[in-house]
Amino acid sequence: MEINAFVIFFAAIFTSNILLTNFLGMCSFLSVSREVESSFGLGLAVLFVMIFTTAINYAVYHLILVPFDIIYLQYIIFIIVIAAFVQLTEMILERFSPVLYYALGIFLPLITVNCAILGVSLFMVIRQYSFLQSIAYGAGSGLGWLLAIMALAGIRQRVKIKMVPAGLQGAGLTLIITGIMALAFIGFSGIAVIQ
């Protein structure tokens, strides 16, 4: 693929946002977006995990899976790598920022099953990105996820004090907002498309 790494980075944030275009990574997106601070914390954690797992999975794919001809194992191996890395992130967070660790609670280990993380690794394989492109894609997707969750948190904080019909309170309204955000982001697609 000949797309410039920077273009991929930019596109992953805006035009092909992993969350708003591919709709991956929805569960923690919907649950943690109640407050802006914890959303920011979780977004940073997801970004951190995404960059490193993309890099590690790239190495594992090209250095182990391809030479040994066991590409069909990629699903299992990628998940193992992601799980191990999230454990590491938890330990680092507990050590250096206990407040954030407690604030995120159960959602930190839940990053392991965040489909966006696995999705990014698999897309990287499907689209046959080079190492540089993969890093750009991982970083861009992470930032795009962070941007999306913070935007939603900001909107939710303002909507919280308004009168919402009983049937739509909570998840109902959140999904509608997410849909409208996705529509808005389609407006970016004229700039650059990578899928």
Partner: protein
């Protein structure tokens, strides 16, 4: 085919194994906070292995901060001032701290993790608190639901406490109860007798510890407790003393009166013992004796609902009715209360009505 399966399994296992080893090494390094120094009151320094809570690190060094819940974060007793090195305030601590306490650097020591050198400030008499191993020397039945335990302490072999303080008794597993609990009981023996500790325990129907004491321990058994704790003790003044305590609340009062008797105090004392009926009275003769040995002591049992068959000739009704009769100098009277929250609530109101000042009313608030 077999080779393929073996190869696949082998590679997956290898990758998983390598990752697991990396995680173990990381945990060793990240969760290892090394050795940290706890600086106490600027005087004592303890070196502990980092990573545990402040409460348990201090306990390891035989410094016991009060705790009713065993470090779970549900009682708020283990407060302690952390001057530096305690990290940011955690959401689990906030429910127990007032704004003033937070501004004053007070933290819940069971939630603060020792990760670096830490400076704390604790009251001096905490150094007196120890964990004791004792033997049940005697069990006496005072009434149908009240027992007194005499514990002879073995290790360490003496205890230093003020009359009115309490201990945390550690119960053992029994029947349906699969774990030990700690409950607070006031000491009923004279502090001048440092080799024994007596406690008076009333059976509470749903009580894990009181049921253990009443039904599952015997003389000669070894039990453990921690103490002494509490800010409830005799004020060193010449003011008149008013004791109000019923049921097992008699314990700290007994300790105080025995102590005052030994010291030959000539302060004016009145002790109101509130109970339901005659069957709830105990140590009545014992306390009437103090009327002879102490300079100015009066024991006044008051029954609120005596049975017909009791033929009670003494005072009846609520204690508040009789306060005026016995309190001579309101401004110079100290009140010492021990009992249930409801009793203390009612008594405090009655005492105010009688003219006794708020700052002269003392009670344990657990």
């Amino acid at each position: 085919m077999i080779l393929l399966i073996l190869q696949t399994t082998g590679i997956v296992t290898l990758i998983a194994g390598v990752l697991a080893i990396i995680l173990v090494i990381a945990e060793r390094y990240l969760a290892d906070y090394g050795e940290c120094t706890i600086d106490i009151n600027g005087k004592k320094k303890e070196i502990v292995k980092g990573g545990s809570s402040l409460l348990s690190s201090l306990n390891e060094k035989k410094i016991y901060l009060a705790s009713a819940c065993g470090g779970r974060g549900s009682c708020g007793f283990c407060k302690c001032k952390v001057l530096s090195g305690g990290g940011p305030l955690l959401p689990t601590e906030k429910p127990f701290l007032t704004a003033a306490e937070i501004a004053d650097n007070v933290r819940l020591s069971c939630q603060v993790k020792v990760k670096e050198d830490i400076k704390i400030e604790i009251p001096e008499d905490i150094f007196n608190i120890r964990k004791f191993k004792a033997v049940v020397e005697k069990i006496v039945d005072y009434t149908y639901d009240i027992k007194e335990l005499t514990l002879r302490i073995n290790e360490p072999d003496t205890i230093s406490f003020k009359a009115g303080q309490y201990i945390q008794l550690h119960s053992k597993k029994y029947a349906k109860v699969k774990h030990s609990v700690s409950r607070a009981y006031s000491i009923s023996s004279n502090p001048e007798n440092p080799q024994i500790v007596q406690v008076i325990i009333r059976k509470v129907t749903e009580g894990i510890c009181t049921t253990w004491v009443h039904e599952h321990i015997s003389e000669g058994e070894e039990i453990e407790f921690t103490g002494p704790f509490g800010d409830f003790f005799i004020q060193d003044t010449d003011a008149d003393m008013l004791f109000i305590a019923g049921g097992s609340g008699k314990a700290p009062i007994k300790s105080m009166v025995e102590y005052l008797d030994q010291k030959k105090s000539n302060r004016r004392m009145v002790y109101f013992f509130g109970a339901r009926a005659v069957k709830d009275l105990y140590l009545t003769e014992y306390f009437h004796e103090f009327e002879n040995t102490l300079a100015d002591f009066t024991y006044v049992p008051v029954l609120s609902q005596p049975d017909e068959s009791d033929n009670w000739q003494g005072r009846q009704g609520y204690i508040t009715k009789y306060l005026a009769e016995f309190v001579k100098d309101c401004a110079n009277t100290e009140a010492y209360l021990c009992g249930s929250p409801a009793m203390i609530n009612a008594m405090v109101k009655g005492l105010h009505a009688c003219g006794i000042k708020e700052e002269n009313i003392y009670y344990d608030s657990f």
